[in-house]
Symmetry: C2
Subunit: 336 residues, 2 copies
DNA sequence: CTTGGCACTCGGGAACACTGAGTGCCAGAC
DNA sequence: GTCTGGCACTCAGTGTTCCCGAGTGCCAAG
């Protein structure tokens, strides 16, 4: 259908348009990329490409601009992910290595990614779902009040204040703590509910009321945080670009739910996900593209991160940056 | 200098300009606000106000627009903070009451404030400085590795992984934990360094190496988080307004340091701080105003929150919202 | 299939005039 | 002395027209 040269023309159109942000004409194309043919020939090819829906002209007598379909073809078949330079690699590494806790890792990551790509970066906190319990702590606050702290293997900490039905001795709490940790340590969060139910039956009668209060709060914690936290950075990078509906995009960015869907929709594949313009689930974000990847330690994906920018973005470079950052974050989290 | 009527004219100019976003002329003024004088008289007054620098005209043959100085006078002497409606009050209360932990309180607050004022809201996390230690927890992770968790009376939780120089028994850790809590419980964070130094000398010889490792991490934690965390929301509300340099403002919002100065500069007064246009420390934010207030439980200010919007904002309403939200957040934090 | 030539299209910028809101000033009224 | 109506003046914004040139589509020849 599309011979070699037509593909080359499409690639050239995309590259030129991305770098100049202006519709590209046949003449300029034939000159800048040495295609070895005349402008007239290029015109014919462009006519075909337009007919097939890969490019379009904003108005008669203007150059051509890639369509979403054109970008799609470009990403899938005409381009290669561009690896980062050594310097960039080292910069990432040292920047991320300085993080002190999970919060810090995420914050640094999102800024790094925004700066690297000059676009809006989005990072999801490591999911509770896939992680395991590292420790459960019960801290007495008052006679009938304790604080429940749940620490996961990804360094995430959840805490809740629990009001108890009875006055409880310190050593009873210590005992409960020991039991809880014995049962739950290393347990996948998804399996906690089962384990807890099981545990509750095996407890001695006198511990039941207190334990069940605590355990129900523990379960609440898991459920409530089911919807994950997402942060973004680099909104300023949108400001220069008139082609995107700034207001809509900013609104979308502040809607956790929308962001979640953007990143998560295709979480089955560990590879890079690219969603271009109208492929996007949220109508306010047509005109923008998302490049996302999962990250995690080893083979289990903890969460996702990505970049959002105008459809007219440099895909090879962006994809390279996203992939690299995802890998490094995975390493960092695995190591801590 | 300025008689009663001239002040009324200034007030009218500010109010009209704020609501219409267009330079306001003498005729419209004389009509809409029943000043009881003719447009010509108003013109004379306006000429005086302009001469004194309270208002200005964008170009000859256009209406007048308040200057920063004009807004300042308006805020200081011509307007009253507008209290929220009962419905708004209740909405705030129920919305904030649903928060489950500190993170949630802050997130909800910032969104609430953004929505209420239709501007950009900024909230600082409760400062470590003024809060006290509620509990210190040591969690064994591996033979020579523990996690240090610090819980403050504002519900804030800081955690660090500590690599120990020696293998340590569980009961030694339990002992250390008990000692630490005995010393530090209720201690103001500002006084922790002293207390720790004191403690270190009183420890038995064999505990010294382990303890000093842990304590130095504890001190690090306090120092590192000295620069506080700040979040914002409602950036989308900026998008409609052309009068502000969108890019600059977004950049400023992502600079923690700048935000900190905006909110914090005048933290000595517990009352509302209003900073108008060029009064602003950061040049990218001329053209915007900040309304900020401290919040906290009772008399000690924990941190600050505020709103950032175009200089041309509705000050009475904004100030009312900021004050109300600050109060409610204080209550919530005190109660949990 | 490719190429050069040619007529055609149309967005965008420059030049221009027009309109109307708003001003400043002045002479007269209260 | 202060206010008011009248009047000439200014100028941003808008609409109109015109022109230029980049870029196209088509055709006939190589």
């Amino acid at each position: 259908m599309l011979d070699e040269r037509k593909l080359a023309v499409l690639r050239a159109v995309v590259e030129d348009y991305v770098s100049t942000n202006e519709p590209v004409g046949s003449k300029a194309l034939a000159e800048r990329h040495n295609l070895g043919v005349s402008p007239a020939t290029v015109r014919n090819d462009m006519a075909v490409l337009e007919e097939q829906g890969y490019i379009t002209q904003p108005h008669t007598s203007a150059g051509r601009v890639p369509t979403d379909k054109g970008y799609r073809l470009f990403v899938d078949r005409l381009s290669q992910i561009k690896p980062l330079s050594g310097a960039e690699r080292r910069a990432i590494e040292t920047f991320l290595a300085g993080a002190v806790d999970l919060d810090d890792v995420v914050t640094r990551t999102v800024r790094l990614l925004a700066q690297l790509t000059r676009q809006v970066a989005v990072v999801q906190y490591p999911s509770l779902i896939r992680s395991t319990v590292r420790h459960v702590e019960l801290v007495p606050l008052a006679e009938r009040r304790i604080m429940l702290v749940l620490i996961t293997n990804t360094g995430r900490v959840e805490q809740r204040v629990v009001d108890l039905p009875d006055v409880v001795e310190d050593d009873q709490i210590a005992h409960l703590r020991a039991v809880l940790n014995a049962c739950l340590d290393g347990c996948r969060l998804t399996r906690v509910p089962d384990t807890v139910a099981d545990l509750q039956e095996r407890l001695p009668e006198e511990d039941r009321p207190v334990a069940s209060t605590i355990l129900s709060v523990l379960l609440d914690t898991l459920v409530e945080r089911h919807d994950e936290k997402i942060v973004f950075a680099g909104a300023a990078n949108l400001a220069g670009d008139f082609s995107v509906g700034l207001r809509e995009v900013l609104e979308a960015l502040e809607e956790q739910v929308v962001l979640m869907r953007l990143l998560g929709e295709a979480s089955d594949s560990a590879a890079l996900t690219v969603r271009i313009g109208s492929e996007n689930p949220y109508s306010g974000l047509h005109g923008t593209s998302i490049v996302a990847a999962g990250y995690g330690s080893g083979d289990n994906e903890l969460a996702r991160l990505g970049v959002l920018g105008p459809t007219r973005m440099d895909y090879p470079v962006t994809m390279g940056a996203v992939r690299a950052v995802a890998r490094y974050v995975g390493q960092i989290l695995a190591g801590s």
